[in-house]
Symmetry: C2
Subunit: 397 residues, 2 copies
Amino acid sequence: MSEPRDPAAEAGKLDAADALAALRERFVLDDVVYLDGNSLGALPAHVPARVADVVRRQWGELRIRSWEESGWWTAPERIGDRIAPLVGAAAGQVVVGDSTSVNVFKALVAAVRMAGEGRDEILVDATTFPTDGYIAESAARMTGCALRPVTPAEVPSALGGRTAAVLLNHVDYRTGRLHDLPALTAAVHAAGAYAVWDLCHSAGALPVGLDEHGVDLAVGCTYKYLNGGPGSPAFLYVRRDLQGRFDSPLPGWNSHAEPFGMTPAYAPASGAARGRVGTPDILSMLALEAALEVWDGVSVEAVRAKSLALTDFFLRCVGEYVPDGRVESVTPAAHAERGSQVALRCDDAGEVMKRLIGRGVVGDFRAPDVLRFGFTPLYVGFADVERAARVLAETLG
Amino acid sequence: MSEPRDPAAEAGKLDAADALAALRERFVLDDVVYLDGNSLGALPAHVPARVADVVRRQWGELRIRSWEESGWWTAPERIGDRIAPLVGAAAGQVVVGDSTSVNVFKALVAAVRMAGEGRDEILVDATTFPTDGYIAESAARMTGCALRPVTPAEVPSALGGRTAAVLLNHVDYRTGRLHDLPALTAAVHAAGAYAVWDLCHSAGALPVGLDEHGVDLAVGCTYKYLNGGPGSPAFLYVRRDLQGRFDSPLPGWNSHAEPFGMTPAYAPASGAARGRVGTPDILSMLALEAALEVWDGVSVEAVRAKSLALTDFFLRCVGEYVPDGRVESVTPAAHAERGSQVALRCDDAGEVMKRLIGRGVVGDFRAPDVLRFGFTPLYVGFADVERAARVLAETLG
């Protein structure tokens, strides 16, 4: 059987066969092709009513009673447990709160402290989203470590007896490259160091397997593939057997064993709550909790399968429509090395993206020359993909 | 002219003469006497519609475009500038984001770094809300300083050539005592150290005068007297002439001079933005921005005058209604030493507060033996105060 030559017709067939296609109805969407869910996920349809209830009834009527009666106080752990299966973690190891940057700081400092005396070097992904590098530099400075930027491929040879911790990205924010979390984690452990993974571009996009692969600590954001809303709080994973040794550099009262005891001496809580700091931002947090309900009955494995089909199809459509050499994919072709986005390099990427957005295809631009397209299987279909590639070709032409 | 003997009649007269009485209509309130605005402020009436717009239109329709078109990106500085006049700061010195605990960490570490070599001691208010003490301990540990807890009264004699920074509360969270910010700041400066003030219980309750009194750094929460909603983001003040030396321990990408340059080398932004860290929690933040509109046309000085009248009247009603010795006020009688709350000590405070709440008078309990009543002049009236004291007397009887 020969491959269909008409991508539009093929898209129709793929959409008709897509078991996840109906999930699109769980979101507020219009006729724009939204390929920026790797920056800000679309709005789940039931979230506005839930947020309205939090504001009007929980805050407006119950007021202070909501800390207990509406479950505000326990939200960070409860929502953490809702995220946990999406990243392959058993309950009790994920807590929600603060920004990704703040959580990177907690995780990295805690990892260095776990490594102990004699280990005074932090390895950081040299291609990382910048904030991880900036925060790693501060964590190194404040723990008396040296910071050594290396590419993920160089990590195995860079590891040594001095290595305390390694901060890596599961998926590169710019290229969409998926790094080998199991192998790199094993290498870090073989060197006696601790692995901290940034899951911003993989949580909700593909299986992570934190428990299965023995990851030590991980952080991730919730406003990309988890659709939690603009700036929704990040999450922190601390493997259960390390929680007793998690020594936070931000020991706020929410992480105290007895937060309302109001004692001057700090005593850390047990479990995931040890990663908390101050009062949680309830509106953002409960919007996230509502948003996570779109995952009811959805497996990350099915999402991953569709994600690969979408990015495969996009690359094929681009190959079909866009003149050779006009753009170059910097996203790996191999499935094992690809996240849920496609990054195309072209010299005038900034201008091209503006025109694309003007024509209803929304991706984003990353300096200096990358067009970034994120594929969120919960609400992006194959016809969207075909249209995006077609409009891209017209825009580039 | 003799003082009226009937507190209920007096309350009516005081309410009739209250120029701020009409502000109550700006809030969603019921027949409960809400004296817990020092823990969670009441819901401003126009906030639900504004939050709904942020969710449905800004997030749901504009999506990623809102970072620019809806002013999301600049919200931390813009809202900081709205808070600034309420704490006596000129524009460009306050930024909103993160929790109070996280901001205490930023401010204290930055203060120690400003103090420089040879100054290796941090003084912290020994009676502080615990989180400040826990975070100060971490800041001390991570900057190689000793931490020395002292009462605010002991600060002048504890200051010396080793003192790097002093972390103080403007108003004590438990007793409601107002500390002498101008005099203590001057003493800290005379010793060559830096003053960090926690304004959680004074911002929005009384004039602070940050610029006037030369405060170096300050933090505060926005969900108490500023009514920003549960866990709304905190604020950080860095005096303008110190901003160039503000060396943050949490240098996230939002504080970079060129955040979208995606450069691996960190270069701090100028101005208040240097205090930012990661992506701001937009829903919580824009709810706060809307909430701050209740301050339109309202002066903090007028609020302070009414606050003192309310707490005076409450103490008088308690004296009238409650048998001598049944409760003891731990809030100073002198206006210059009183914040906007009254704290009453009684052995069975925990049980008493539960009964009070059951009867529609909402304050809170602070272990081990304190009944806390906060007075928010924007929506609490004198009849509320009389009723609270009367119900308290009945509850205690």
